[in-house]
Amino acid sequence: MASFTYTEIVKLVRQKDRKGFELLYNHYGQKFFSFAVKRWFLTEDEAWEVVYQTLQTLVLKLPLHEFESKKHFDNFLYKVFINYLRQYYRRHRKQQAEEVDFTISLQAAFAADEPETKDEPASVPELNTLAIKAYYQEDAVESPNLVALKCALQQLKADERDILLLRAQNYTYEEIAKMLKIKNNQLKVKHHRSKQKLMQLLNKKNANHG
């Protein structure tokens, strides 16, 4: 497939050339679709809606707006996409919470994916699962627990943070190694240690506030 720049795609869409819409889908829509299904567990129908709403917003925006650079274009598209992803993700987590036995277990979360290391296991702090459930119910609910998690994440090294966030999106260790351009063989241990470190930071915060 020939490569097109974002300005070429935008120009074709503005000219109402059908090729522009096909390119828009090929370059962005398909990737968004795959991301929504594989990383965020949306059904294909839900992912279709997320992608459609995102590209529709862009198409409607184009006649009124000039993007200064590719970074501005990407920034707009990324925010719109995540905004719709957030809406659909929350809506369906909420449905899921009503339909199935919705158990959030931090102990289980920590025990899963445990590599063999000689590290002492970190004690697991109480993460307020109500805050997570509340997030599905209300727009932009933020709890002190989630704020503490955000602060703790910010104290990690960039690669530790990246590993944790990428694993949370179901990327495999092999994919993460490629993305971060690091060796795969120690990634599982590194992931585990990053979790330990995060938990210790959270425990420290809880102790300070307790």
Partner: protein, 203 residues
């Protein structure tokens, strides 16, 4: 969505972080995140050919239908009308005409009689104008509304009656930044009245 009766709490909290940090993402962070999405592995999923064609068709259709602003601009150009002439003929202030031309105002901000004057002056039928006005409404709703929802400017307040320090809720109303009548229901009502007005004048 895959059914699971156990959700990894830490992973879920991290996912929430990811969704929320996008609101405040600067140009560099967005570029980094987009790079991750766009550099998906080769086994990336795709939708069925039918679904894909349906999406491209719908996007193409949306872009092809003219908005009210486009209709006004094209007709003014064709009829060699100036904003000043149009303002005098329709009694719509020049500033409002400029906003209508740039699709930056919801059409039902304009009093019905004045909008009827505008359509008459531009010789636009109700049917054509109705479709265009609905598109303008969607354009404004999509572009401004989505930005508002994705905006890092958020108002936080404690929810009354909530346990101390448990949950903070965004108190910004869904209608924040909008006039009460700038919603689809009001626009439909406005269009219905406009239709009657234009039919009355033909009788």
């Amino acid at each position: 969505m895959a059914n699971s009766n156990k959700i990894n709490a830490l992973a879920e909290a991290l996912r929430i972080m990811l969704l929320e940090e996008a609101r405040e993402a600067d140009l560099d962070l967005s570029a980094k995140k987009m790079q991750i999405i766009l550099s998906l592995p080769d086994d990336a999923l795709d939708m069925s050919k039918d679904k894909r064609r349906q999406m491209i068709d719908r996007l193409f259709e949306i872009a092809s239908d003219p908005s009210l602003g486009e209709l006004i601009r094209e007709t003014m150009k064709r009829a060699k009308l100036t904003e000043a002439n149009l303002a005098i003929a329709t009694r719509i202030p020049g500033t409002v005409i400029r906003k209508l031309k740039s699709d930056s105002i919801v059409p039902n901000n304009v009093p019905l009689l004045l909008l009827r004057n505008l359509l008459n002056q531009l010789q636009l039928s109700f049917k054509v104008a109705e479709k265009a006005m609905l598109k303008t409404f969607t354009m404004i709703q999509k572009t401004e509304w989505d930005q508002l929802k994705a905006s890092p400017v958020r108002v936080w307040a404690r929810r009354p009656g909530e346990d101390k320090g448990k949950v903070l809720v965004n108190k910004a109303a869904d209608t924040a930044g909008r006039e009460l009548y700038e919603n689809k229901e009001s626009l439909i009502k406005y269009l219905s009245q406009l239709k009657e007005l234009m039919e009355d004048q033909q009788e």
